[in-house]
Symmetry: C2
Subunit: 354 residues, 2 copies
């Protein structure tokens, strides 16, 4: 896959991500501190700032791609990076609202090597704190009191609705035997693309960009999101556990109908048919039974997905989405330095190993 992608400016990307964290995190923490007890403490745990006893920890806050993008988005519109900070914070709040609720709906017990909130506290806290973060996202933007903030909130609301649509599709697909590649891409566009798109426009909107500029930046972010998700789907099967921090064959254990699986099933041919028969049999097992296969059994399934072309198709899809994202950048007039950084971030997203 790296053949089409130039060598990534890793130090440059690391600095961009670090700048996003440095500018956004204090504002995010101040916003979360406004929540009434015990929601402030539960949220601090969720964000990885404290353990479940409320003691400060220096945790893994995630890659923080979204804040970095929101700040670049402001600069793309000719504004200072700082103008994008409330947008970065609002997007992070919405992202974490969706994690809190999705983990509960999906019954996921672990996130970033720690118990999820519904597991560490209880389901009611996961619902309540998720709701509070969603409301806080709107508050952080609207208290700016500007016309731009109203426009930014509207875009964030649209993205949030798509996020919810995507989760609804994800849940409904779980109960179906067959999902088409188009359906899978639509779901991933909603679940991952829409909010990343919003991160890429929200700073620009706060900086006074017009709708055409914002829409074009959103197109960049949307395709970047689909590229990101395609890579995630590859790492979910073939990722190195040391790098990803997830179990081997993580998505296969969860029987996820991710892109490589769906593409392999759609491909036809002997390997595709053998895979289909095997997954149909797996579907009759309980989730615990399916997660309990030995390494060999997962390796067999992964090999069939690869043989049927699911791995290669998904790699190509990541490259296609990456290329489409970069094309969008050409349609916006922005400082050359900012464009180079957005390109570097896109390259990073596609070649990352974790």
């Amino acid at each position: 896959m790296t053949s089409a992608i130039p060598a990534v400016d890793t130090a440059g990307v690391r600095a961009l991500l670090e700048r996003g964290r440095t500018l956004a995190t204090p504002v995010l923490r101040a916003a979360v501190a406004r929540l009434a007890a015990p929601m402030d403490a539960v949220a601090a745990y969720h964000f990885g700032w404290t353990d479940a006893q409320g003691r400060p920890v220096s945790g893994d806050g995630g890659k923080a791609v979204r804040p970095a993008l929101a700040l670049l988005s402001a600069e793309a519109a000719g504004a200072a990076a700082e103008v994008g900070v409330p947008g970065a914070v609002a997007v992070e709040l919405v992202h974490n609202f969706s994690l809190l609720h999705d983990d509960l709906m999906d019954g996921d017990e672990q996130r970033r090597h720690r118990d999820t909130v519904w597991k560490a506290y209880d389901p009611a806290q996961a619902i309540l704190v998720g709701d509070a973060l969603f409301a806080l996202a709107n508050e952080v933007l609207l208290e700016l009191g500007t016309v731009e903030a109203g426009r930014a909130t509207r875009r964030l609301t649209t993205a949030t609705r798509k996020l919810i649509d995507g989760q609804a599709q994800d849940i409904s697909y779980e109960h179906r035997e067959r999902v088409t590649v188009e359906e899978c891409l639509e779901m991933e566009g909603n679940k991952t693309g829409a909010l990343l798109a919003c991160a890429c426009s929200i700073g620009a909107v706060l900086g006074g960009a017009d709708d055409r500029t914002a829409d074009t930046l959103e197109a960049y972010g949307y395709h970047l999101g689909l590229a990101f998700q395609a890579v995630d789907d590859l790492l979910g099967i073939w990722g190195d556990p040391e790098a990803t921090g997830k179990q081997t064959w993580s998505d296969l254990r969860q029987r996820k109908k991710s892109l490589p699986v769906v593409a392999a099933l759609a491909a036809g041919g002997p390997a595709s048919e053998r895979l289909a028969a095997m997954l149909a049999a797996d579907a009759k097992l309980t989730e615990a039974q399916a997660a309990d296969f030995d390494e060999e059994e997962f390796a067999t399934r992964a090999a069939l997905i690869e043989e049927a072309g699911g791995r290669e198709w998904t790699s190509q899809e990541a490259r296609r989405q990456h290329a489409t994202a970069l094309e969008s950048l050409d349609r916006v007039d922005m400082p050359a330095e900012v464009r180079a950084q957005l390109v570097a971030l896109a390259d990073f997203v596609v070649v990352r190993k974790s």
Copy 2:
């Protein structure tokens, strides 16, 4: 209690509520129809428009006090009632978002004589559709694209945060033996007062009212909400099941620390102490055991609450809040006809039997 309240113009109030329903419901239904399947169907069930099989029913949509207030709010600012419609719809969406999530958090299986969504479908749908209604509320306002819509959304966001704070308090109070009257009033102000306050200002804000006018209308709505809740708390113990549609002693069955209970416990004296001892013993039972008392046992508790002064205090509190609400109206310059209707609605809220 009726002594301080003039005879209510029942026909007038009925016409006001009917107008709110007539103008807001079609817009509400159109908004809900935008949701992706199956969320649109789940929401239609929740609102009482269909049964769980999706067949249309003519259900009990509730009293619809909030939409009526939002339309009057627009008229209070000199705008047409229609200007308040998006506000009425947004407030109803937020109200129903909170019902969907609260019913799940509280484990309530019935609402308006029907299974709640988490019970009729599943918990994930209750979370998801609640989230979708919350997002939709912001969307309905922000797509107006006006400065006023931004201001209205900000007020709605503030109210929603208070609603969530109130639910957090309600949950935390359940685990406590003693709750003060002040804490109970604060919780009820958040859970009921804040959104009713927003209903009373949102139409005016959409109609171009300044912040002072909006704040004063919110003060009316906030105290109206506290009066409403005090009456609800009375009906939750002494209401006529024929009129309320709830079980006898409904709040006692759920061991709610509602105003009459909290006020009786705070009063001191022999009845108060006997009540405290009895409720402390009840608290050791499971919820199912406590709900299973015979009528006699509930009647004993209700009599003690009354003897300790909890019933009378709550009646007086309803009258105090009603009076404070009406005082707020005097501080806004509005058409006499609109003021008379806001007064009639306040009277209705306090003397209602259901």
